[in-house]
């Protein structure tokens, strides 16, 4: 699914989180929103998911206006920064949640749910943890379960908020590769937010560099490294990566 962000602006009470920003995300691409904290990247991601309503502007899914569509109907898989796994449910119940939440008429049979959960657990390379609780998992395992949960409902787009932020460097590298593999296998349009330029550059097809609620530059990683268009982008990518 291709996504268009058309002059989206967002202000909270007295602060402006996003000045009107526009961005076109081609179908099947892996795009990162890169910027320091407070640059509005998470707000933009939440607006795409439908968790936040823009003050003005439109979000288009495959050319159709999706701005007024509820979060449930958008079918955007969202991986939260803190994973937000349901703490009182097992891994199995977590992944099955989106399927079980469907109205009876479209809900898969429990055998079908089991088949899909098992398949997803294999996809994230964690078979055999289905009966554990989130508190019994490591950070990296939780992140992968959150990814599987988001994929279970066959979303139209995958949105990830700082997906590797809370993990140590080695696990992060592993999971980056894992996410790229899953993206390439499913062909799902994927947008992720990060403040880590290494992560953005190594993982995505297209990077949107953000600062102070504006998109400073959009381009391929090579483009942005070679031809930074603003002072901010130049300074930002010259910083040594904080790993």
């Amino acid at each position: 699914m291709h996504i268009e962000i058309d002059e989206i602006a967002k202000s909270f009470a007295a602060t402006t989180a996003l000045h009107p920003v526009s961005l076109a995300i081609p179908s099947g691409a892996m795009v990162s929103l890169l910027g320091p904290s407070g640059s509005g990247k998470t707000t933009l991601l939440r607006i795409i998911a439908g968790l936040e309503a823009p003050t003005s502007g439109r979000v288009l899914f495959d050319g159709a206006d999706a701005t007024g569509i509820t979060v449930q109907q958008r079918r955007a898989g969202f991986v939260f920064q803190s994973y937000a796994l349901f703490r009182h449910m097992t891994v199995y119940e977590n992944i099955a949640y989106g399927l079980r939440a469907r109205p009876r008429s479209t809900r898969p049979a429990s055998a079908e749910i089991e088949r899909r959960v098992t398949k997803l657990l294999e996809l994230i390379q964690l078979p055999g943890i289905a009966s554990r609780y989130p508190s019994q998992l490591s950070g990296g395992q939780r992140q992968r379960v959150a990814l599987a949960r988001a994929l279970a409902t066959e979303p139209r787009v995958l949105l990830l908020d700082e997906p590797f932020g809370a993990l140590d460097a080695r696990v992060r590298r592993e999971l980056r590769a894992g996410l790229r593999d899953i993206h390439d296998a499913t062909g799902l349009t994927t947008i992720f937010v990060t403040h880590d330029q290494d992560e953005a550059m190594s993982l995505s097809d297209m990077v949107a560099v953000m600062s102070m609620g504006r998109i400073e530059q959009v381009g391929t990683p090579v483009d942005i490294r070679k031809r930074p268009q603003t002072d901010f982008v130049r300074r930002f990518i010259e910083q040594p990566a904080l790993v």
Binding site: L51, V71, Q72, R75, G98, Y133, Q136, R149, A152
Partner: protein, 287 residues
């Protein structure tokens, strides 16, 4: 190398053995003196003339009326306050709105106002010369010196218990699990049933138990508004006081023992549930 002192983490948080013994004994003695002794005294006094006399004292029409009224009041007040408390805690913990600070202070009001004052203010509002008195008597409704008044007084006094237990738990858990449920396609009601409620069930249970204990035991506010009509508006605590004032100490203490037993029963229920769901409880708390 050998002269580097060994670092033992346990030393940091552990007191010396004598200190530990002293602290533990002080707590145990205080608990026994302040909590266990009065309870034991009530039961001992109730059973002074034997179990038969005690039961006979409870088997009077007035006693049964008081027991029924107390149970009726708590059966209505507790679910009502659980629902209202849950809604208030949800609003406060998960949303930002104007007047939130005022709402929080209002929830605490029943804790800071003396129950007697609460009872009096209800009389002022609903009594025959009160604000709504004329309207009520015109429609042939009785609040003061009747069951609705007792219910209102109990609702007022027990209002904070559930909300107070839930607000810190809900604030700490934040909104992200609920947002996750919504992105997975859950409707608001499905999300509430499967995520919000299970996440606070222990705090809710605890709040409900405290609320219930207070609803059954409330004296001050009920004493003012009930008019103490024997057999009609006397709850168990009111009847206990009346019996005691009439020097019917076996009857008074038997009723007191029964009230205490009801409270102990709710406590037992809670422990039983915690024990049965120990695994899940540990899992959810550690996360």
């Amino acid at each position: 190398m050998s002269d580097i002192p060994l670092y033992r983490p346990a030393d940091v948080t552990t007191e010396a053995r004598p200190a530990r013994i002293v602290i533990t004994s002080v707590i145990l003695i205080l608990t026994a003196l302040l909590l266990l002794a009065p309870l034991a005294a009530v039961f001992a006094e109730a059973l002074r003339d034997g179990l038969g006399a005690s039961l006979a004292a409870l088997n009077t029409p007035d006693a049964w009326a008081a027991i029924r009224l107390t149970l009726l009041i708590s059966v209505i007040a507790v679910p009502l306050n659980a629902a209202i408390g849950l809604a208030a805690a949800w609003a406060i913990a998960k949303f930002d709105f104007r007047g939130k600070a005022i709402l929080i202070s209002l929830i605490d009001l029943p804790f800071s106002v003396s129950p007697v004052v609460a009872g009096l203010s209800l009389v002022l509002l609903f009594g025959s010369s009160g604000w709504f008195g004329a309207w009520l008597s015109a429609h042939d409704l009785r609040v003061v010196f009747a069951v609705p008044g007792i219910l209102l007084a109990t609702l007022f006094v027990t209002f904070p218990f559930v909300a107070r237990e839930l607000i810190p738990v809900m604030s700490e858990q934040g909104r992200s699990e609920e947002e996750a449920a919504l992105t997975l396609g859950a409707t608001g009601w499905y999300m509430f049933r499967t995520v919000t409620l299970p996440n606070v069930r222990w705090a809710l249970l605890y709040g409900v138990l405290l609320c219930n204990a207070r609803a059954m035991g409330e004296f001050g506010a009920v004493a003012v508004i009930s008019g103490k009509i024997r057999g009609q508006t006397t709850t168990m605590p009111i009847l206990i006081e009346m019996l005691y004032n009439e020097y019917l100490s076996v009857a008074a203490f038997s009723m007191a023992a029964l009230l205490a037993a009801l409270a102990l029963l709710t406590l037992l229920l809670k422990s039983l549930m915690e024990w049965r769901h120990a695994d899940l409880l540990a899992a959810t708390r550690r996360h």
